[in-house]
Symmetry: C2
Subunit: 337 residues, 2 copies
DNA sequence: TTTATGCGAGAAAGCGGTTTCTCAGTCCGT
DNA sequence: ACGGACTGAGAAACCGCTTTCTCGCATAAA
């Protein structure tokens, strides 16, 4: 006859009664504490097994002050980049017995701070991807979020590892590549206006323009998804540019799709580049030239940093910088003479 | 001067002291209980605001017996299908103030049961995608998982909504489409051997073969990812089939990529079809003919079912069946004469 | 034989909330 | 003026588990 506690689930008390010991002893046995008589331990284990007892994680969490869970705030779960970060993070964390709680901010920057705080309280730490949040707000909430790992944002706060992709350098590499192919009129199909990583790209473009004053670089408004690229076809054609740097791979794919519909040859008439090297970038037609970002690795590293923080290993809590690697494929070619 | 409890965080006791009331009263105020004198309530609110007090969710969870979190077990976070389910689920759940905890089983079926149990105990309910688990094991663990929503599996257990995609019908529709184009030699590039949805597809194919005895259908071993399709090129060419039904879009894309490298024209020489209609399917070259599954919607529905279960609305806890819709694009064409 | 020593397990105190129980104090009716 | 109903807030129990505290008992030393 299986006793049931008030909640209807089997608790430590049930096991204690069945084994004829106190629940303190059951706890000791379940946690491998060896100060328990082997006979009693065996009895407890038998009782636990028979009742299929599994400790209630909420009770454990309250007593231990840890949840074995970390949170991640992402602006858009539909974006392959954040999917990859999530994947890398989740898998690395799972290796150490941690689970990941998701908070999707839907690109609503006002939500990001609230979600972050809420997620943080439920978890032992937080990985924050908040590209739209203002610097001021970011700095304000950071103290309440520790242990915290920041993705693609920097902070003056100490003890907050920041994993940032060098978008500026990546954009410069791509622009150089296009120039080397003979293109003299480029266009940048920008990302969301308030995007932090877009700002980094613009800085890179400024550096590029300073180094190549003879190259004409047109700025076009854009966004971060496929449709943005698709809708930008007119603007791109009007610009007269022959080398297009899209904000990311999705935008580039949308653009190529639109250009294809117009009968514009890529890379014959126009060269198109992306950014990120999402899994599908190599399978577009033509295969997309892009700047490869080791994003799953970044997700894994985020966990490494988080683990160090949680374990309070004061050591390598610095963060790291990722250099995109230029992946030259078939979407770029020599400029038309 | 801010007092701090043992854990270093601000707790209900700190607010109680600052407001000069008992913590019971603080709890009442924080939960909008109107049996509190307005003056006192205001004092408590002021104290809470000044201390930036936020209730500890773990404490609340223990007291209330709910975590406002649901878990989802997926076999592979890199698979666009599960990403879409996760997305739909997460967004719908967020509308009702619930968060989602992820458990990635890495396609290891032996892990699925353990992960499911663990995730379930941490959460108020579980959404289970376990395509590799045996029926016997599934039935065995189901009772301990309630409230549970099953994706693409069926069960004899009552009170377990099952959301299933009619893969069998989808495969038949695709096969019919190819036959209507004049193809008489088809090949099915199968999914993982122990996949439940693959079994459904095979049943659909059997039905199709029974209805079209004159059509030759070759079975080829496969898998579920891009590389599988890419590696299957030789087998596909050897089969002599002119209409290929790939297990899913990823496999189809890999196959098209491989065929392209061999100089085989799609759909001129061979027609290729996928399954799922993942976001990129329409942007392959040629655009992929596939069976569109409303998978994000399925994720949302999963939450609706879960919510009904959690709220114990005995009503529509039935689940539903999703009919794939044939999306004819450019990867299929008339059979070569 | 008596006392110091140690070991193992039960009792109890948290962890941070919610909620029931209890009991002053107030208001009203008689 | 006295008693009953009601109101509102504090005390305490409880959620399920971990861990310290405490103490009985057994063994060893004196």
């Amino acid at each position: 006859m299986v006793r049931r506690s008030a909640t209807g689930r089997i608790g430590i008390a049930d096991v204690a009664v069945k084994a004829g010991v106190s629940h303190a002893t059951v706890s000791r046995v379940m946690n491998g504490n060896f100060t328990v008589d082997p006979d009693i331990a065996a009895r407890v284990k038998a009782a636990a097994a028979e009742l299929k007892y599994q400790p209630n994680p909420v009770g454990r969490s309250l007593a231990l002050g840890k949840t074995d869970t970390i949170g991640i705030v992402v602006p858009d779960l539909a974006n392959p980049t954040f999917q990859a970060i999530l994947r890398g993070l989740s898998r690395a964390a799972a290796q150490d017995g941690y689970r990941v709680l998701i908070a999707d901010s839907f690109e609503v920057s006002s939500e990001e701070a609230i979600l972050a705080g809420e997620a943080r309280r439920r978890c032992d730490g937080l990985v924050l991807c908040a590209p739209r949040m203002s610097d001021a707000e970011l700095e304000e909430i950071i103290p309440s979020l520790h242990p915290l790992v920041l993705i693609n944002r920097t902070t003056a706060a100490k003890g907050v590892p920041t994993l940032v992709v060098d978008y500026g350098q990546g954009v410069q590499d791509i622009a150089e590549h296009l120039v080397n192919l003979g293109h003299t009129r480029l266009a940048f199909l920008a990302g969301p206006p308030r995007s932090a990583s877009n700002a980094r790209r613009l800085e890179g473009l400024d550096a590029f323009k300073a180094a190549h004053p003879q190259v004409d670089v047109t700025m076009l408004e854009g966004g971060s998804d496929f449709d943005t690229g698709h809708e930008a076809v007119d603007a791109v054609l009007e610009s007269g540019a022959t080398g297009i740097l899209a904000f990311n791979d999705l935008v580039a794919m949308g653009l190529m799709s639109g250009l294809h519909e117009r009968g514009v040859d890529v890379p014959g008439d126009i060269s198109v580049t992306g950014f990120d090297d999402i899994p599908f970038a190599r399978y577009t037609t033509p295969a997309l030239t892009t700047a490869a970002v080791p994003i799953t690795e970044l997700g894994q590293d985020a966990w490494q940093q988080m683990r160090a923080l949680i374990r309070q290993e004061g050591s390598d809590t610095s963060g790291s910088r990722y250099q995109p690697r230029l992946e030259v494929r078939a979407s770029t070619g020599p400029a038309r003479k």
